[in-house]
């Protein structure tokens, strides 16, 4: 069975679109992490770090 038949070659336009989507997902996830981190500090206050 030829494994190569399962692969699809992306066109330049598809590659560019995929990069754009991946970048947007990455930025959104990073922003969400920062958002939850900052919100946790705000909600619990500075004493959160003092044990």
């Amino acid at each position: 069975m030829a494994m190569g038949e399962d692969f699809v070659e992306l066109t330049e336009k598809q590659k560019k679109a995929r990069r754009s989507r991946s970048l947007a997902i990455g930025i959104a996830l990073a922003a969400l992490v920062v958002l939850f981190y900052v919100a946790t500090i705000v909600k619990f206050g500075p004493h959160f770090f003092n044990g």
Binding site: Q14, R18, S20, K43
Partner: protein, 312 residues
């Protein structure tokens, strides 16, 4: 009416997407989102009590994403209608850039994330109203009312009226008479705003089979109803002053803006049945956006001015 699952926009089993991030942003209806963000922000600022700026920002962000999710779910379900209408045929799904299933998944993920983020980080009352707003817009309005009754945007208008109430609940943790008044202003504004658009886009809605008021009851009845709603809207816009949570300066602005709305609606009422250009309807549509923006901007300025005076 065909359900989206078995229509022509469904995709074959293997499909390589050429959709960029901006196509997905378009699914969020950024222009509608901007008005939602603004009215929610005013609700948040006008509410009693203080909210930490970071949590306030998160609340507005969650409301914006929730509104965007509603837009994506609306575009998913209405792709067949959007393809027929000139105003919407270039949207990502009818133009083939995004598959319906992708839009559905995108909308559901954003809706879930926005509600839970608002609930966990701000409060669950605001999150509950946001969840109900998304449900109301995507299910009650889009899936049920829009295709079944000419009162679609009258009842469905509630979805667009909830954001200031969500903002208010995010800041104060409650729903009060003041936030209901903010809701009522947008609720009463929605029918004349959309019927003005429907008057000069009646052909589009008719071709798509959407029972908008001009297609069902005729242009004359629609013009009369626009005028009646504008007569009800103008005094409701002044209510924040009458009820004492805005100053006389706001009241004067609201009276002036409301009188303008009634005047433009009167021009629409007087419009001839044979007016093909429908300039008065186009002017009312444009003015209605200025009206809503103006009312909430005046309220925002009023609240900020009151805060400045109290602080000095």
């Amino acid at each position: 009416m065909a359900l989206i699952g078995d229509n022509q926009y469904d995709t074959p089993s293997v499909r390589l997407s050429e959709a960029t991030a901006s196509d997905y942003i378009e699914l969020l209806k950024p222009r509608v989102m901007s008005l939602v963000v603004f009215t929610a922000f005013v609700g948040l600022v006008a509410a009693p009590g203080t909210v930490h700026p970071v949590l306030g920002f998160i609340a507005i962000l969650a409301i914006a994403v929730g509104a965007g999710a509603s837009g994506a779910l609306n575009m998913w379900y209405d792709a067949d209608i959007d393809a027929v209408m000139s105003r919407t045929s270039g949207r990502p799904i009818p133009s083939g850039r995004i598959a319906p299933k992708e839009a559905l998944a995108f909308g559901l993920v954003l809706a879930t994330m926005s509600v839970f983020t608002l609930g966990v980080l701000v409060n669950w009352l605001a999150a509950s109203i946001l969840a109900f707003t998304i449900f109301f817009y995507a299910v009650v309005y889009t899936m049920w009312l829009k295709r079944s009754t000419p009162q679609n945007i009258v009842i469905g208008g509630a979805a667009g009226a909830f954001p200031p109430m969500v903002g208010w609940a995010a800041a104060s943790g409650s729903v009060s008479l003041e936030s209901v008044v903010l809701f009522a202003i947008i609720f009463m504004w929605t029918p004349p705003h959309f019927w003005a658009l429907a008057l000069f886009k009646a052909g589009d809605y008719g071709a798509a089979g959407v029972p908008m008021m001009p297609n069902v009851r005729g242009a004359r009845s629609t013009r009369r109803q626009i005028f009646i709603y504008s007569l009800m809207l103008a005094p409701i816009g002044v209510l924040p002053w009458i009820l004492g949570f805005a100053s006389a300066a706001y009241g004067l602005v609201a009276i002036f803006l409301g009188a303008g709305f009634v005047w433009y609606a009167y021009q629409v009422l007087r419009m001839s049945d044979f007016d093909g250009a429908m300039l008065p309807a186009r002017k009312l549509f444009g003015y209605s956006i200025i009206y809503l923006f103006g009312i909430f901007l005046a309220l925002l300025a009023d609240v900020l001015a009151a805060g400045f005076v109290a602080g000095s």
